[in-house]
Subunit: 114 residues, 4 copies
């Protein structure tokens, strides 16, 4: 019998997928803004978050036993990305939206990791 | 000035993202069904489609000059995946839904590639 | 000043990269062998290992602060993959080689995670 | 019977894998150097090249029918990345090495695409 994806996991997959998308777009946006927005640390935090979100989503879609572990790392990466976006946003709407999406994803990944 | 993502490209990104998700889930589903659903060629077609969809979506999100090229390959991978899912579905709803999502993604990638 | 990648991290990156390659190839091989080699759980263990190896390697290449966390999950995924390959190998050389590469990668990821 | 990977394809997989690694590391390096090295276009060219190299390698490892198409796009991405690294290198060894690895990968992908 194929595994069933629970509604809570389904929501976490959607959050990770959205967070991946927003982080890749925000990294491009920040590189184009330049200055402090494009500092290496910030871009790396965004790329880390994008990549672990995609990985965690795929682990959940496969019903993998280790999805709780990937979600745990993902929650941490999302929290750090949210903080860094808020720290540097200076009113920039793309960065503030990224922070919001990251916080939501961190919350649902934390629940999946528990 | 940061690049703008056009509404048509935004829609194609959403289609690729959905298609990636559905293909990873369908590959897991087919492996669990076993038999002809799990034949190597079919699983590979699903994994190819999932991977090039994710790649094309990221190229568009970065505003990359080569996004038309990745979308061209993606359209072809999605068409093949849709055909293979229909060929093997035998009424299975997950596979039929995958075929539908792949066709929609193939159409929008074909437009982006033009 | 650009970050320096230590010799130990450089070796771990090489191990993760090789392990990714071997797991993707072994998954294709097992799907083509069919039977118990192609059971859903085994293919998922291989795909999980391939994906987290690629993710961990990229985190190390970026010098990301969270690379210890991704390496921790990677060590666990590699150990499980090695066990599963040995359990099912039945003398198959591709699977035995995969088990060996996974064990080496698990060891170096465990050291990076510490 | 499992598919056989030809020696030429095996070499192309190795080139794509190395090129992925070098491009991710060079992108991190360039972001840390800052200035013209960190301009959005250059970082995107490096990230594009890294991602399509990883995708093409996996297509070849799966023995996918579309590997010639992904190798074709990969050859183009590698050529552009080599040119951009040379244009901006200004004697930087990491960037010059990246250009060299990209050219070698472009050559072997071009042959696989033919």
């Amino acid at each position: 019998m194929p595994h069933q994806i629970s509604p809570e996991m389904r929501e976490c997959i959607a959050n990770c997928t959205e967070c991946h998308t927003v982080c890749v777009e925000t990294a491009a946006h920040c590189l184009e803004l330049g200055g402090k927005h494009a500092e290496a640390h910030h871009i790396h935090v965004l790329l880390d978050c994008a990549q672990i979100c995609a990985t965690s989503a795929d682990f959940m879609l496969r019903g993998s036993e280790l999805h709780g572990r990937t979600c745990g790392v993902c929650a941490e990466a999302c929290s750090r990305c949210a903080e860094d976006c808020e720290r540097l946003a200076d009113g920039d709407e793309t960065m503030l939206r990224c922070a919001e999406v990251c916080r939501r994803c961190a919350d649902s990944c934390r629940r999946m990791a528990a």
